[in-house]
């Protein structure tokens, strides 16, 4: 079993839809949770960052962490064609300089206009 599981999709939605992207994980030591967005032929860029459980909102994006269920989500409201990309969840255990990010496989999102 992989440490982080993420449905690779693709997920196709119409413009304006609410998108829900999810990851589950097995290691309860993970404390820091991130979502990266990767456009085709580009490097991943950080989208959202949360610590421990709870919600965080930034514009059209909301990140949720439920540590009791070992489940994290990213919601995108009013999705736009420019949101079409691969979304990678990532998580880490500690803040030490050697901390290792463990990534999910990435979900391909396609928003159709």
């Amino acid at each position: 079993q992989k440490e982080v599981e993420q449905d690779p999709g693709p997920l196709s939605v119409p413009e304006g839809a609410i998108v829900s992207l999810n990851c589950t994980y097995s290691n309860s030591a993970f404390q820091y949770f991130m979502w990266y967005r990767q456009y085709s032929r580009k490097g991943p860029e950080l989208l959202m960052y949360t610590y421990s459980s709870g919600n965080k909102e930034d514009g059209r994006f909301t990140a949720q962490v439920d540590k009791s269920s070992k489940y994290i989500s990213l919601f995108i409201r009013d999705s736009q064609p420019s949101d079409s990309a691969t979304y990678l969840c990532a998580m880490s255990r500690v803040l030490e300089y050697g901390n290792k990010l463990v990534f999910g496989a990435g979900t391909i999102l396609r928003v159709k206009s």
């Binding site: 690779p8 820091y32 991130m34 990266y36 990767q38 032929r41 580009k42 490097g43 991943p44 860029e45 950080l46 960052y49 610590y51 691969t86 990678l88 880490s92 803040l95 300089y97 050697g98 901390n99 290792k100 990010l101 990534f103 496989a105 990435g106 391909i108």
Partner: protein
């Protein structure tokens, strides 16, 4: 200015050859990483250096050898290239100041390696 830059962007080579990929960051970060992303987009860490010191070394064939001449540069040399080495290789760097900075990694655009 590109924060994390990798060269070359594309690399096409024959099996058995030796090749190098270079990475430079101008963010003043202390920690740099090499990741491999396979055809299914799975991103896996290979190595990490902090101030020129190797701190993470995942289970990677010893044909792969990272080298950090200074904290702003991390190069990856690959000997005796194999078909399975074909992937996108990403360099990343991370700062040290503050809770947020300690966990955010900034990625380069990637080097697409094709071994024929």
């Amino acid at each position: 200015d590109t924060a994390v830059s990798q060269t070359p962007k594309y690399l096409v080579t024959q099996m058995g050859n030796d090749k190098s990929i270079k990475c430079e960051q101008n963010l003043g970060h202390d920690t740099m990483y090499w990741y491999k992303q396979d055809s299914k987009k799975f991103l896996k860490i290979m190595f990490s250096y902090n101030n020129k010191e190797l701190i993470i070394n995942e289970t990677v064939p010893n044909r792969f050898s990272p080298k950090s001449p200074d904290k702003a540069h991390l190069n990856l040399h690959i000997n005796s290239l194999e078909l399975g080495d074909s992937a996108v290789y990403f360099c990343a760097s991370k700062g040290t100041g503050g809770v947020l900075a300690k966990n955010i990694q900034y990625f380069g655009a990637g080097t697409r390696l094709s071994v024929l």
